[in-house]
Symmetry: C2
């Protein structure tokens, strides 16, 4: 968004991204316990101390990439045409994060990813990232609807419910062995929420 990003800002952003990527790669390859902070720092060409200036833990570094992406949902919502109904805009904004990116080829996940995601510390950080993204989304929803973030529950309510539903959809997709795209799963989940989550017909769900 802000294009007036100086050299310093850009460098920090790059270092941050590099560290996160390195953390993910190393942990997926070697396993959670066999990666030290020093390893990650070295892979990113910074000192161990600098790593710690960016992240408080290995887990936070790993979740950072997810966080960056999730935060973009709010901007995506702002980019939607003003005349579009709120729900349509929200659904479009959320699914936009997953479009286009085949991202991680399901077949290539050598269970290393599963193991890393199974790590309690990582799960915790992902929850935190989701919470942060939801807060950002709530701000964007408040702007779009003209509601007051402090007075009205609606923005945070919608944001958190959308976040939860997306998370459940991704989790379900992931659990079943990520084959096809995750987008339809998310879309379906959000449609169900928009409909008030009525009990599905016994046959309906596949």
């Amino acid at each position: 968004m802000t294009d007036d990003e100086g050299l310093r800002e850009r460098k920090k952003r790059e270092t941050r991204a590099t560290l996160s990527q390195a953390a993910i790669r190393l942990c997926v390859q070697r396993g959670w316990d066999d990666v030290s902070l020093a390893d990650i720092a070295e892979a990113a060409n910074v000192s161990e101390r600098t790593f710690r200036n960016y992240f408080t833990s290995k887990a936070e570094a790993i979740a950072a990439t997810h966080l960056e992406r999730a935060l973009r949902t709010a901007d995506e919502l702002r980019a939607r045409p003003a005349h579009e109904p709120l729900w349509d805009a929200v659904i479009a904004a959320v699914t936009a994060q997953f479009d286009g990116t085949t991202d991680i080829e399901p077949a290539a996940w050598p269970s290393g990813v599963r193991r890393v995601f199974a790590e309690p510390a990582v799960r915790g950080e992902i929850l935190k990232a989701n919470a942060a993204a939801q807060e950002a989304l709530a701000v964007a929803i408040a702007e779009r609807t003209g509601l007051d973030l402090e007075r009205d529950v609606y923005p945070r309510l919608l944001a958190s419910v959308v976040g939860a539903a997306s998370g459940a959809a991704v989790g379900h997709w992931f659990r079943g062995g990520p084959r096809d795209s995750v987008v339809p799963h998310i879309h379906s989940a959000l449609d169900q929420v928009r409909a008030g989550l009525p009990l599905p017909l016994p046959e309906a769900d596949r």
Copy 2:
């Protein structure tokens, strides 16, 4: 539920609760940074090492009390009459956790509580606790609806959305300075979700 709880089990449960309570009390009184694990262990009459056998961190100990309560939601749902519509049962189960307990007298919250809840580590643990509670709720929903937890998204979808909405309601209530009961807030939020979260009328929300 299980009444055949031996002496050992009961003691553990008690120690766990005592540690959590002590952690909360001390941190609220003295502030997060001025409470060591040793302080908490001492207050609960166990060794520091034992504390560590129960909890991995101060934050986890603090969130434990919340977790215990949140986990009860699932049992509460199982206790609802079978003929009751799912949504009614869910709403009743969730609000039951907050009924009866004036719990913490708003006026008595000397901002100590706010500060502890503001601690990132604590927030993280509360998110984890909520996630665990949602998983338990999902199991109970699957039982009640006869759906398959692995095949169908619905149980986890409903559980996570309900959890998110409740959390948003509590957060809103808390942020506005907890005056009256939180129950109506939660009820209102869940009603909105059940209605599909339509954009509220400008005047409607107070």
